[in-house]
């Protein structure tokens, strides 16, 4: 589903990703782990198409298509979803209104029929129940005054709502207490599906106790330096990034 080859990415004048290779098949959950500044967030942004993250070399192929050639909203309509580390606030726009606009924009782009407010509300309510997202939260302005946990739960709610083909979770565990973490992990696990691929980006091994990946890639200085099964997370926890990176070199 996702094939990244020799990816080089610049932000401004600085090269952040320096020849990254990654292959992710449908039905798989992979984790990207790495120290701060290794390029984890850059990878998630470049996959989602954020302006200012320029591919200077290499390719990203998504379901046979050149992902780099698509506008960010087109990628979303084709099933690319990024759960963000820092979900932004949009004052004056209710969460429900935002969900409806976004869902319908995606449906429109795919040539599907748009849903009316009641139709969207029905689906949202049903998905929201398991995530402990209240009606009251849906009426508040998007992410405005939300706690860290509420923001992350809303990200997962959107993931459930949009039913992406490729879901990227950027440090979804940051700022969560253990209860919130479990709730979020359950949400993610419920979306595991043979037709869906997920890329879980995290700094800590903790999240991977709850979302067990099929494969782990260690990212350092813009490249994948080590790969392995789920046991690699434990090894990282025990040895630390420095040692693993040294071992790999």
């Amino acid at each position: 589903m996702l094939e990244i080859k020799n990816l080089h990415v610049k932000v401004g004048d600085k090269e952040i990703l320096k020849g990254l290779n990654l292959s992710l098949a449908a039905g798989q959950v992979h984790a990207i782990m790495g120290p701060n500044g290794s390029g984890k967030s850059t990878l998630s942004y470049v996959l989602a198409g954020r302006a200012g993250y320029d591919i200077t070399q290499g390719t990203i192929t998504y379901n046979g298509e050149d992902l780099g050639a698509l506008a960010p909203e087109a990628r979303a309509a084709k099933g690319v979803f990024l759960a963000m580390q820092y979900p932004v606030e949009i004052p004056g726009v209710t969460t429900m209104m935002f969900l409806k606009s976004a869902l319908n924009a995606q449906r429109r782009a795919r040539g599907e029929k748009e849903l009316d407010a009641i139709g969207v509300l029905k689906i949202v309510r049903q998905k929201a129940a398991t995530l402990n997202v209240s009606e009251e939260m849906l009426k508040r302005a998007l992410n405005v005054g939300f706690s860290g946990g509420e923001k992350k739960r809303l990200e997962i709610l959107q993931m459930k709502l949009f039913e992406p083909k490729l879901a990227i979770l950027d440090e979804t565990d940051s700022g969560l207490d253990i209860d919130a973490l479990k709730l979020v992990a359950e949400g993610v696990n419920s979306l595991r599906d043979p037709s869906r691929a997920m890329l879980v980006i995290t700094h800590y091994q903790r999240l991977l106790d709850y979302i067990v990946p099929d494969r782990i890639h260690v990212l350092a200085k813009g490249k994948i330096v080590a790969e392995g099964g789920k046991e690699l997370a434990k090894e990282l926890e025990a040895k630390g990034y420095d040692q693993i990176i040294k071992d790999a070199a």
């Binding site: 989602a48 198409g49 954020r50 302006a51 200012g52 993250y53 320029d54 591919i55 780099g68 050639a69 698509l70 506008a71 960010p72 909203e73 087109a74 979303a76 309509a77 979803f81 990024l82 963000m84 820092y86 979900p87 932004v88 606030e89 949009i90 004052p91 004056g92 726009v93 935002f98 606009s101 976004a102 869902l103 924009a105 995606q106 782009a109 302005a141 959107q158 949009f162």
Partner: protein
């Protein structure tokens, strides 16, 4: 990155889209070009006005000759040649129309394009439309229903003939003939407009609405509106404005006067979408408008809501004179300036009576190379004990070449006054935009959503039927602002 380039192209392609930029091919009757005493007489004669009205106009014209165009606003424009314009234009046709069927189909087609529901649907929407095409009202609907409760809703030219005492009693009492250069010009040459009278204790059964439209080329439009809400009455009035796309600038100098007697309430909403000029700043309407409401009676209330998205230049300060004790003035404003548009707009709240309250919520949005100025005055006079004002001015910037300016004046001559002023300036952040795009919204849609959120407090003040239109307009007027 190619996706960014793609987006830019798409956005650029969307840039030039003024939905109302069509011209209706229809024969018009015009006054000779230029402005002199004869022009004033011509306009007055065309309207079959009584002598007192002509005298009033001539006095205004004489006064105007000695007045100077104001230059204190933060707007720049080439000198207006007042002699190089027509001051009267009307569709050529038989004068009296009994029903809509008699109206020129081309006119109706124009209204259709404008989206004015001038048919049975209006009954469902509960909207009565007094449509002003250039200088003449061509169709007035729902008159009968309003007649039942005694509400007068008609072209002002008709009111001058049919209700002369009322017009004489109130015309020019809120905006004096000599008020300012543009108001005085309007007093001399105003061609038509709307007159509303709501009798004592009557709650007007429907929203009243007028669409003004400038169609003829090189024509100034000078409409005059007078609304009187008698004791304990209520009326909500909405005006919408569009004009066709032309290379030259057209002058629009309107005067609106509102009078609220004891316990009366007037809600006046404007959606102004005159042609703003193209993205290089060519063409567009010069909008110099004087709007003022007089809370003449105790416990009266006047509320202005405006959505200003059009015009090359907007110079407009809908104000409230809070004369009656316990009277309330409100001003809710959204002003959007894109490309080379210039907006200098705000309000004046003059607290004269005791326990008077005013509230100002202003949302200014600047994009492209546009400049947007909030200019406001809150004045508390000596006898206005316990006067209160709350002002909130928020500015939103889109891009790096636009400007937002806030010029609030506060004068208080009474120590018991409580005046609060809050102001913020913000930008649409890259991360907000990216977040929306990532969730599937297009660039334009994302900007419209964020800006509508920013304007929410004001949009909520609009009558339901128009709030949706206004939201769309906010999006349309910012097309091409992000690239």
């Amino acid at each position: 990155m190619s996706s960014a380039a793609d987006t830019k192209n798409t956005v650029a392609a969307l840039g030039e889209k003024y939905k109302y930029g069509f011209v209706t091919e229809i024969e018009t009757e015009k006054a000779p070009k230029g402005l002199n005493e004869d022009t004033v007489r011509y306009v007055s004669a065309k309207k079959n006005e009584p002598a007192w009205m002509l005298e009033w106009r001539l006095a205004a014209f004489k006064r105007w000759l000695d007045m100077k165009e104001p230059s204190w606003a933060r707007v720049h424009y080439p000198k207006i040649d007042y002699q190089n314009a027509y001051y009267y234009a009307a569709p050529k046709q038989t004068p009296k129309l009994q029903s809509l069927d008699e109206v020129d189909p081309k006119l109706l087609e124009t209204y259709k394009k404008l989206g004015i529901p001038l048919n049975e649907q209006m009954a469902l929407a509960g909207v009565a439309v007094d449509a002003v095409f250039d200088s003449v009202s061509v169709a007035t609907t729902f008159k009968e229903k309003l007649n039942e409760v005694g509400v007068i809703f008609c072209p002002i030219s008709e009111a001058i003939r049919d209700y002369p005492e009322m017009v004489q009693k109130y015309l020019g009492t809120v905006v004096p003939v000599t008020d300012n250069f543009f108001a005085t010009l309007n007093s001399a040459v105003f061609s038509d407009g709307t007159f509303v009278y709501v009798p004592k204790g009557v709650r007007c059964p429907m929203e009243l609405s007028t669409y003004f439209r400038i169609n003829a080329s090189e024509t100034g439009q000078f409409e005059r509106t007078l609304i009187i809400a008698d004791e304990g009455s209520y009326v909500s009035y909405l005006e919408g404005c569009t004009a066709p796309k032309r290379d030259e600038n057209q002058l629009h100098a309107a005067v609106v006067e509102l009078v609220a007697l004891e316990g009366a309430e007037i809600k006046y909403s404007t959606v102004q979408n005159w042609y703003p000029g193209d993205e290089n700043g060519v063409g567009g309407i010069f909008n110099f408008v004087t709007k003022r409401g007089d809370c003449r009676g105790d416990r009266s209330k006047i509320s202005w809501t405006q959505v200003e998205t059009g015009s090359a230049i907007t110079w407009k300060y809908p104000s409230c004179i809070l004369r009656g004790d316990g009277s309330v003035g409100e001003f809710y404003s959204i002003a959007i300036a894109n490309h080379y548009q210039q907006a200098d707009t705000g309000t004046k709240m003059i607290h004269i009576g005791k326990n008077t309250r005013s509230r100002i919520i202003s949302k200014g949005i600047s994009a492209g190379k546009a400049h947007n100025t909030y200019r406001g005055l809150v004045s508390v006079l000596g006898k206005a004990d316990n006067a209160r004002n709350f002002t909130q001015c928020d500015s939103l910037l889109i891009g790096k070449e636009c400007g937002a300016h806030t010029v609030p004046y506060i004068e208080s001559r009474n120590p018991s006054a409580k005046i609060e002023h809050e102001a913020t300036t913000s930008k649409i952040a890259d991360d907000q935009l990216f977040y929306c795009l990532q969730r599937g919204l297009g660039q334009e849609e994302a900007v419209a959503l964020i800006v509508n959120g920013f304007c929410k407090e004001v949009l909520q003040q609009l009558p339901m039927e128009f709030a949706v239109e206004a939201q769309k307009l906010v999006g349309i007027s910012l097309e091409g602002s992000v690239g």
